[in-house]
C-alpha cells in the first residue's frame, strides 16, 4: 500500500474521488427497467415458490427481453434464487436474503438461449435446478407464417431422415456384429466403414444422447484410465490390428458384439420419439462440419482402418441434408446465403468425389499432404457461412 506515505489529510479525499470514479461506469450502464409489479397479469412476471424441498416455477420458458421473477419463500429457511447460464457456472442474475414469507423480485434482461434456474434453500449447495428456455421474442419480429411452415416441414423431413439412418445403422450393426463375433474378420472388415457411415451422418443427434456416444464411438486416444472401452473403434483395432497387438479372444469379441448391438438398439429406441426443431438442424449441420475439421481431416478418427474418407463423406451428407431441408425457408429469408452454401457444398463434394473408388474411397494414408490441405481449406470456407445458417432461418 504505497498510499500510506500520503499525508493523512489528503488521502481519504483522494480515495473518495477514486471510489466515485470507479463507480461511475456502473451508474451509466447499470439501470434496467422495472417491469410492472408481479401482482399484475403481466406475462413477463414469472412466479417462483421456494420451499425447503422444491422450487416451483410458474413457467419454464419466456420470450427474451426483460424478465421478472417474483420469488416467494414459502419454506422456513433463508433462500436464494439464481439464473445461471446453461453450463451452470456463470451467474446471470441472483437475489439473496429471501427470508421466510418474503417475496423479492429479480429483474434481468435476458437474450434468447438456454438457462438454468436454481433455488437455494439454506443458502448452500448447488440448489434445486431446472432448465429454463428464453425464446426469441415475438414482440418485434412477426414470424412469417410461410417461413414458419417451411421450417416446420424442414424439421419434419430431417427427423424422418435421422430415423431412417438409425434403422439402417441398426440393421448394418447386426450384420457386422455377427461377422465379428463368429470370427469372420474379412466380412467384418468389409462392413465396417459402410455401416459406420449411417452413424456419422446423424452424429450430432446421437451425441445429444450423451451417454450413448462414448459407448459407441470412443477412440482409444480419448479413453480415460479405468474406463471400459467399447464400441466401433475397439472392434476396429482388432480387425485392422497394429503391430504387436494382442488379438481379442472369441469370448471378448462376442461380448463386444452383444454390447454394440444393445447400445445401437438403445439409440434406435430413443430416436423413435425424436422431434427436431429448425435450430437443431442448423446447429447440427455446423457440428458435423466441425467434426470433419477436427477429426476426419487429421486422420485421427480411423487410426487403424484409415477409412476416414467414408466418415468424411457421411458427415458432409448429414450437413448437406440439413441444409437442403432448410433451403426453402432460407431462400425466403437470406437468398444470398443459400446460394453461397450451395456453391461451397458443391465444391467440397466435387473434391471429395475425386477420391472415390466406385462404392469405396481411397484410404486416408494414401492421400498426399497437398490433397489433405485442399480438403481442409474447402471445409473451412464452408464452415463460416454454415455457422450463419441457424440465425438466418430462425431469427
Amino acid at each position: 500500500m504505497t498510499a500510506l506515505r500520503t499525508s493523512p489529510r489528503r488521502f481519504p479525499a483522494r480515495l473518495g474521488i477514486a471510489a466515485t470514479a470507479a463507480l461511475l461506469p456502473f451508474t451509466l450502464a447499470a439501470c434496467t427497467d422495472n417491469a410492472a409489479p408481479a401482482a399484475s397479469t403481466d406475462a413477463a412476471a414469472i412466479t417462483v415458490s421456494s420451499t425447503n424441498g422444491a422450487c416451483a416455477i410458474s413457467a419454464t420458458e419466456a420470450p427474451s427481453g426483460n424478465l421478472t421473477f417474483a420469488i416467494k419463500n414459502d419454506g422456513d429457511r433463508v433462500t436464494e434464487f439464481y439464473l445461471l447460464a446453461e453450463d451452470g457456472l456463470r451467474i446471470l442474475a441472483e437475489v439473496e436474503n429471501i427470508g421466510p414469507g418474503i417475496t423479492r423480485n429479480l429483474v434481468a434482461t435476458v437474450p434468447a438461449g438456454k438457462y438454468l434456474t436454481a433455488c437455494k434453500p439454506g443458502m448452500e449447495g448447488d440448489g434445486l435446478r431446472a432448465a429454463f428456455t428464453v425464446t426469441g421474442s415475438n414482440q418485434s419480429v412477426t414470424v412469417d407464417d410461410d417461413v414458419q411452415k417451411l421450417t416446420d416441414t424442414a424439421a419434419a423431413q430431417y427427423t424422418a431422415y435421422v430415423k431412417d439412418q438409425t434403422e439402417q445403422l441398426l440393421a448394418g450393426t447386426r450384420s457386422f456384429a455377427e461377422a465379428f463375433a463368429t470370427g469372420d474378420s474379412t466380412s467384418a472388415r468389409g462392413l465396417y466403414a459402410s455401416t459406420r457411415m449411417h452413424w456419422e451422418r446423424i452424429e450430432p443427434v446421437a451425441e445429444s444422447f450423451g451417454d450413448l456416444d462414448p459407448k459407441l464411438d470412443l477412440r482409444e486416444a480419448d479413453l480415460e484410465s479405468g474406463e471400459a472401452w467399447t464400441g466401433w473403434h475397439r472392434a476396429e483395432k482388432d480387425l485392422f490390428a497394429p503391430a504387436g497387438y494382442t488379438a481379442m479372444t472369441s469370448a471378448e469379441r462376442a461380448a463386444l458384439s452383444t454390447q454394440l448391438v444393445a447400445d445401437t438398439e438403445d439409440l434406435y429406441q430413443r430416436t423413435r420419439t425424436l422431434t427436431l426443431t429448425a435450430d437443431k438442424l442448423g446447429n447440427g449441420a455446423k457440428e458435423l462440419l466441425d467434426e470433419v475439421a477436427t477429426g476426419k481431416v487429421t486422420g485421427e478418427e480411423e487410426i487403424w482402418s484409415h477409412t476416414d474418407l467414408w466418415d468424411f463423406q457421411a458427415n458432409v451428407d448429414g450437413a448437406r441434408i440439413a441444409f437442403e431441408s432448410l433451403s426453402p425457408a432460407l431462400e425466403k429469408k437470406d437468398p444470398a446465403l443459400a446460394v453461397e452454401l450451395e456453391t461451397k457444398f458443391s465444391a467440397l463434394q466435387t473434391e471429395l468425389t475425386t477420391h472415390a473408388r466406385g462404392e469405396q474411397f481411397a484410404l486416408y494414408n494414401e492421400l498426399t499432404p497437398e490433397q489433405v490441405r485442399t480438403l481442409a481449406a474447402l471445409v473451412d470456407t464452408l464452415g463460416e457461412p454454415l455457422s450463419r445458417l441457424t440465425a438466418a432461418v430462425v431469427l
Binding site: A29, A30, V78, I91, L92, G99
Partner: protein, 284 residues
C-alpha cells in the same frame, strides 16, 4: 421469523464491527469530540441506502445484478483501503497518548477525521443497499404477515446490542493490549471485507474463478445456522471460499498485521514501560 432474524443479525453485524472498533478507539484516546463524525458517516450511509433501496424497489428503474454486485464489491474494497489507513494512523499516533503532544496530534486527527466519516460510511454503506432491499421486501410482505419485517428488525436490533456490548468490552481491556488487539482485529475484519468484495466482483463476472473453491465447509458450518451467521457477520467468513478470496485474504492480512505490529512496536520503544503482546489468531 428466526431465519429473517438471522439475516438482520448478520447484515447488522457486518456493518457494526468496524464502527464499533473505531468508536472504541476514539473513546480510548480521549477524542470523544470526534464521535459525532462517525455517527454522521453511519447516518449518511443508512439514509443513502434506504433512499436508494426505496427508489429501486418502487421506482420505474431497477439496477442490474452485475451493477449491484459491482457496487457492493467496489465499496467493500474501498472500505478496506480506508480502514487499513486508519489502523496505521492509530499505530503512529498511539505513542503520544497521555503526553503533552496530544494537542498537536489532534490537529492531525481533525484532518483525519473526515477519513473517519468516510470509513464509517463505507463500512455501513457497502452492505447497506442489499440490506435496504431486503428490508423493503420484508415491508412489502407485511400485508400478508408482519413476522418477516419484525424478525429482520429484531435481528438488526440484536446486532446493535451485540455491537454495544463489544464496545463496552473493548473499553475494559488494558491500554497497551487494547491497541494491539484493536488494530489486529480491525485488520482481520478488513481482510474478511476484502474477501467479501472480491466474491461480489466474481459473482458480477468482473473477476474470474467463481467456481474454483479453496475449501467448502458448508456441511460443518451451514450458512443458515446461528454460528454460520455470527462468523459471516463478524469476520465475513464464507463457508465456501474461492481461491481468489482466500489468496486475497492471506495476502492482505499476513503482511499488514506484520507491518502493523512492527510499526506499533517501534512507536512503543520510545514510550518506556509499555510492551505490546501481539496475539493474532489466524482465523482462516
Amino acid at each position: 421469523m428466526s431465519a429473517n432474524f438471522l439475516i438482520g443479525l448478520r447484515e447488522g453485524l457486518e456493518a457494526a464491527m468496524i464502527v464499533v472498533l473505531l468508536l472504541a478507539y476514539l473513546a480510548r484516546t480521549g477524542r470523544r469530540h470526534l464521535v459525532p463524525r462517525i455517527w454522521a458517516g453511519v447516518g449518511l450511509a443508512v439514509a443513502v441506502s434506504i433512499g436508494f433501496g426505496a427508489l429501486l424497489t418502487f421506482g420505474p428503474r431497477g439496477l442490474t445484478f452485475q451493477a449491484q454486485e459491482a457496487i457492493g464489491g467496489s465499496l467493500s474494497i474501498a472500505a478496506v483501503a480506508l480502514v487499513t489507513w486508519m489502523v496505521f494512523w492509530m499505530a503512529r499516533t498511539s505513542r503520544t497518548l497521555g503526553s503533552d503532544l496530544r494537542g498537536r496530534i489532534d490537529k492531525v486527527a481533525d484532518g483525519a477525521a473526515w477519513g473517519l466519516v468516510a470509513a464509517a460510511a463505507l463500512a455501513v454503506g457497502r452492505e447497506g443497499l442489499e440490506t435496504a432491499l431486503f428490508l423493503w421486501a420484508a415491508a412489502q410482505s407485511a400485508g400478508q404477515s408482519s413476522s418477516p419485517l419484525l424478525g429482520a428488525i429484531l435481528g438488526l436490533a440484536a446486532a446493535t446490542g451485540l455491537g454495544y456490548l463489544l464496545h463496552r468490552g473493548a473499553l475494559r481491556v488494558n491500554l497497551a493490549k487494547f491497541f494491539t488487539w484493536t488494530g489486529a482485529a480491525l485488520i482481520v475484519v478488513a481482510g474478511g471485507v476484502l474477501a467479501y468484495g472480491i466474491h461480489d466482483l466474481q459473482e458480477a463476472g468482473l473477476l474470474p474463478g467463481l467456481q474454483s473453491l479453496a475449501f467448502d465447509v458448508t456441511a460443518a458450518v451451514p450458512p443458515s445456522s446461528w454460528y454460520g451467521t455470527l462468523l459471516k457477520g463478524t469476520l465475513n467468513f464464507s463457508p465456501a471460499t474461492t481461491w481468489l478470496e482466500a489468496s486475497a485474504w492471506i495476502l492482505y492480512v499476513v503482511p499488514v498485521v506484520g507491518l502493523y505490529l512492527y510499526s506499533y512496536r517501534r512507536s512503543l520503544r520510545r514510550t518506556p514501560g509499555e510492551t505490546a503482546v501481539p496475539s493474532v489468531s489466524a482465523a482462516a
